[in-house]
């Protein structure tokens, strides 16, 4: 009884390829050293696929070079016959065979059934519903950021201007430095400057928390896909939206992220548009001004600013795309969407904390240094009035320098040296705009004298009780986003001294149109040149020429936009 051995499996690669394989096998019989080491058919196929390791091995063997020459000719004939690379054709045959085998042998009862992820994606990545859903979620994020964080913002402000300032003054008095320029440095420079930005930690925390929730759930990838689709439909490169989305966090990594774009012109164009995506550092400015001039509509105003930035980027992109230099077609691409998952508390906390920590670290570097530098210039008398660290702010060297460019902002409604000084310092880092305002408006002196002295225990008690009150108000404010009032604190509380001072100043410089001037200021901050680190990134990634194009262009555009807002608004209001 015979027991035939099943013939070895041999995939048919089609007539053309099989002909070349057989030809190569016949040629190999002239080189016994080679056929003794490698199976002929296997070797022929791998050589047609240009296996580099095999090529190197053959070069060392007798007859190897000659064989490789024959393979080269075979590949040339195949290219002419099938119009394709042999490696592609061979791989294609394999995949085809595997696919047919799987189709015949594997039963998939659930093939074609959509998973829950797929069903959700059908909605959130829908060509019509995708963008409105994205916009709605972003609106909730900004409402959460602007409205819900407000109680904690007030809490930190109260702690800094109260207990922290009290303890600092007390300690300095103990060591004999009370009432000296050292006290001024700490109170008017460091606490006012750094503290002016630290109050916005809750704002950023809520923003990062909301974004972390969207990220960890897997939605952000869908948002990127939806916006990429939208971008490609209006002629902009679809891949551009990923760097642009990064720009909502910070312009610097966003500009570096343009490296993912292979085409140089797409890269430059995207890099030019990134600064219009309002970065997180600008948020404290928006929150402050929205609270001052639009207390009941803060979230909406801030959302509107972000929207304006996006629209500006789209319009600028479309205009530049029409120019001969940037004209081109968008490339297709494939995107892998991660599965949806439920965010974990630990994951949300870690994501949020990492970003907040980085912000706090920056408070001890750039913001601290800039606060000290601003305090120094603000302590130097510009004329004969006062002495070092004992000069009215408006008579200081800082005010004099800032006052030189203030007239340029008069048509925009904020032609004061205070506003222009804040914008100048914003070139260092956008967070410094608020800390500079906290310093230049110099509102603490009279208020400190009016408050009764408190003990250390009373201060500690104030910290904890006010924290509890802020937490309760925050919890009540969450459902208020959706119109459910649980007795949350009046969203229009009494303004702080800084807010009052800014309000008064803008009212004066705008001829009574303070809110318009405040809105124009926010628009200016949105559009004007990003921070110096972002400019350095532009120089590195886009080149010096495009860096200057961006810097000057954004300054001019910001002035123009703010002018339209202020002057146009005045015409409308009458």
């Amino acid at each position: 009884m015979s027991n035939p051995i099943a013939p070895p499996f041999q995939l048919d690669y089609g007539d053309d390829i099989e002909r070349e394989i057989n030809g190569l096998c016949a040629q190999m019989e002239r080189f016994p050293a080679i056929t003794a080491r490698y199976p002929a058919r296997w070797l022929a196929i791998n050589l047609l696929e240009r296996d580099e390791m095999l090529q190197q091995q053959l070069m060392k063997m007798e007859g190897g070079s000659a064989l490789l020459t024959v393979v080269t000719l075979a590949n040339g004939r195949l290219q002419a016959a099938i119009g394709d690379d042999a490696e592609i054709a061979i791989a294609d045959h394999r995949y085809e065979w595997i696919h047919e085998l799987v189709e015949e042998t594997v039963e998939r009862p659930h093939m074609g059934t959509l998973t829950l992820s797929d069903k959700i994606d059908r909605v959130v990545t829908n060509r019509w519903a995708g963008i409105p859903i994205f916009m709605a979620l972003m609106w909730v994020v900004f409402k959460l950021t602007a409205d819900v964080s407000a109680p904690y913002l007030d809490w930190i402000g109260g702690v800094l201007s109260g207990p922290i300032t009290n303890w600092t003054v007390s300690l300095l008095t103990i060591v004999g430095l009370g009432g000296t320029w050292v006290e001024s440095l700490f109170v008017d420079g460091i606490i006012a400057g750094v503290g002016g930005v630290l109050v916005f930690v809750p704002v950023l925390a809520f923003l990062y928390l909301a974004l972390a929730a969207l990220e960890n759930s897997g939605y952000m990838a869908r948002a990127a896909f939806v916006m990429d689709s939208a971008m490609s439909k209006i002629g902009l490169h679809g891949k551009s939206f990923l760097p642009l989305m990064i720009g909502f966090g910070c312009s610097v990594p966003a500009i570096y992220a343009t490296r993912t774009l292979e085409n140089e012109k797409d890269r430059i164009l995207t890099g030019l548009l990134v600064p219009f995506m309002s970065c997180g550092a600008r948020l404290p400015v928006y929150v402050l001004f929205a609270a001052i001039f639009f207390p009941k509509r803060g979230g909406l105003v801030i959302f509107g600013l972000y929207l304006l930035g996006i629209l500006t980027a789209v319009v600028i992109g479309l205009i530049l795309r029409k120019t001969p230099y940037f004209a081109g077609e968008a490339n297709a691409f494939v995107m892998e969407l991660p599965p949806y998952r439920m965010p974990t508390v630990k994951g949300l906390w870690l994501h949020t904390w990492v970003r907040i920590r980085s912000f706090l670290e920056s408070a001890w570097t750039i913001i601290l240094v800039s606060s000290i530098v601003i305090w120094l210039f603000a302590s130097i008398p510009a004329g004969d009035t006062g002495s070092f660290a004992d000069v009215p702010m408006e008579d200081s060297a800082f005010a004099a320098a800032s006052g030189l460019i203030a007239p340029a902002f008069e048509p925009l409604g904020f032609g004061s040296w205070e506003a222009s000084s804040a914008l100048i310092s914003g070139f260092i880092a956008k967070e410094v705009v608020v800390s500079t305002m906290a310093q230049v408006y110099d509102v603490e002196g009279d208020e400190e004298a009016a408050e009764p002295a408190t003990t250390f225990i009373e201060d500690v008690g104030f910290i904890f009780t006010s924290f509890v009150e802020a937490t309760i108000d925050t919890i009540r404010a969450i459902p208020l986003i959706f119109g459910i009032d649980l007795g949350a604190e009046d969203p229009d509380p009494a303004q702080s001294d800084l807010m009052f001072a800014v309000h008064k100043s803008f009212d004066e410089t705008s001829g009574g149109y303070g809110a318009l001037a405040g809105l124009a200021f926010m628009v200016f901050v949105l559009i004007y040149t990003p921070c110096m680190v972002a400019v350095a990134a532009e120089k590195q990634e886009l080149g010096t020429k495009w860096m200057w194009f961006s810097v000057i262009g954004q300054l001019l555009l910001a002035w123009l936009f703010a002018f339209v807002v202020f002057q146009g608004g005045k015409l409308l209001i009458g």
């Binding site: 592609i88 696919h99 799987v102 994606d121 990064i246 992220a257 993912t260 297709a332 691409f333 995107m335």
Partner: protein
């Protein structure tokens, strides 16, 4: 099969997800990934390797959370871009 994958991407004229591509071609995601990787090796697709490292290496001193903290960098999805057709490379001439 391989050619079909490339053809679907080329003819999409817009971003397409791997999931959609797999459904259209009735291909398992794992098999599709292999084909995508093949085209990346052949140079017809480019693995964008979405930025997962902030070039500033840990923050630029502003609100940026750096490489591990940037709001949008960390979870950017993996994507592959179509590249223009290149001439087929034949075996190099024997030295």
């Amino acid at each position: 099969m391989l050619r079909q994958v490339l053809h679907e991407i080329e003819s999409a004229n817009a971003p397409i997800t791997l999931q959609t591509l797999g459904r259209r071609l009735a291909i398992e995601p794992s098999a599709l990934q292999g084909m995508i990787d093949f085209w990346v090796r052949k140079g017809r697709l480019r693995d964008d390797d979405a930025v997962d490292n902030c070039a500033t290496s840990g923050g630029c001193g502003t609100s940026c959370g750096g490489a591990t903290g940037c709001a949008f960098v960390v979870e950017t999805p993996r994507s592959y871009s179509l590249r223009p057709l290149k001439k087929v490379q034949l075996l190099p001439n024997k030295a």
